[in-house]
């Protein structure tokens, strides 16, 4: 039977927190870093409303009212749009 040398043990038996170097004490004067607000509020004006090109919607009923001067008048029996006597 050939000779097999014995390997070292995986641990030395000492806990790792005892083998770590002692923590350095913080220096008196740390490097100053300018404050930067998060990107979401970087350019947002507080008193200016926001507008989304993606969510901007204009309902056709609003356009009809603006173009023809009145709201849609739907007949309850026929369900058709009623003509108005008001000049447009």
């Amino acid at each position: 039977m050939p000779h097999i040398p014995r390997q070292l043990a995986p641990t030395t038996g000492v806990p790792p927190e005892f083998t770590a170097a002692p923590r350095q004490a913080p220096s008196e004067r740390s490097e100053e870093v300018a404050y930067r607000p998060p990107p979401a509020t970087l350019s947002t004006r507080r008193f200016v409303p926001t507008l989304s090109l993606k969510r901007h919607e204009v309902p056709p009923e609003k356009i009809f009212q603006a173009l023809y001067g009145n709201e849609l008048v739907i007949d309850e029996h026929t369900g058709l749009v009623q003509p108005t006597s008001r000049p447009v």
């Binding site: 350019s43 507008l51 989304s52 204009v58 609003k62 356009i63 603006a66 173009l67 849609l72 749009v81």
Partner: protein, 217 residues
Amino acid sequence: MSIPDWCNPQAVPSKETCQQVRVSSLCERGWQPLLILGYLRDHLARHFHDASQVEADDLRQHLWRDHERTGILIESVYKWVDGLTERRPALLIAQNAHRSIRLVLGDLAGRTGNGDEEYTELWVGSHTVFCLHEKGAAASMLANEVRQELGQFAPKIRRYLGLHRFAVTEVGAVSEVEEAKHHFAVPITIGWAFQQNWVIRCEALPMRRFSVEFILD
């Protein structure tokens, strides 16, 4: 010399050829929102193409040119991507929803001399022109220029294009664009309405009905 088409957003015809307009296949099918979007883009590009037509002095340095280094970007909102406008002002045109308005019962307007049924329908919708600029005041000035141009020529536009209605219905507040925080925008809503008529031609008289049960019996 080729005659440019006003439906083509890339071409700005010269004054000699403005009177000769070749109607494309899209225009042959009657009005649709895409054509009105193309017209608005074409109209605004012509307006900002010549400095003498721009009323605001501060905007005359931003002239539209048919290349990438144009002074003002005038495009549909579909072509806009982040960084496209850079530091330039821009006019982005978006198409809103449109709705059918029923004018008569069953859309049946009447019958032609041949006895064919004629139908009619009214479509109401709008487009929004977003006036973008880095400065809020400049965005407001740009919006005022667009509002005056389209609003004052609205009666002529409606007449020559054959639209039922065409008007600037609303100008929104100066707002910050959520998609581009360094730009301000003013939305201008342009409402329109066009009537669509069509005729259903019957190739033959309707067949007379007969009872199948009578034959089987």
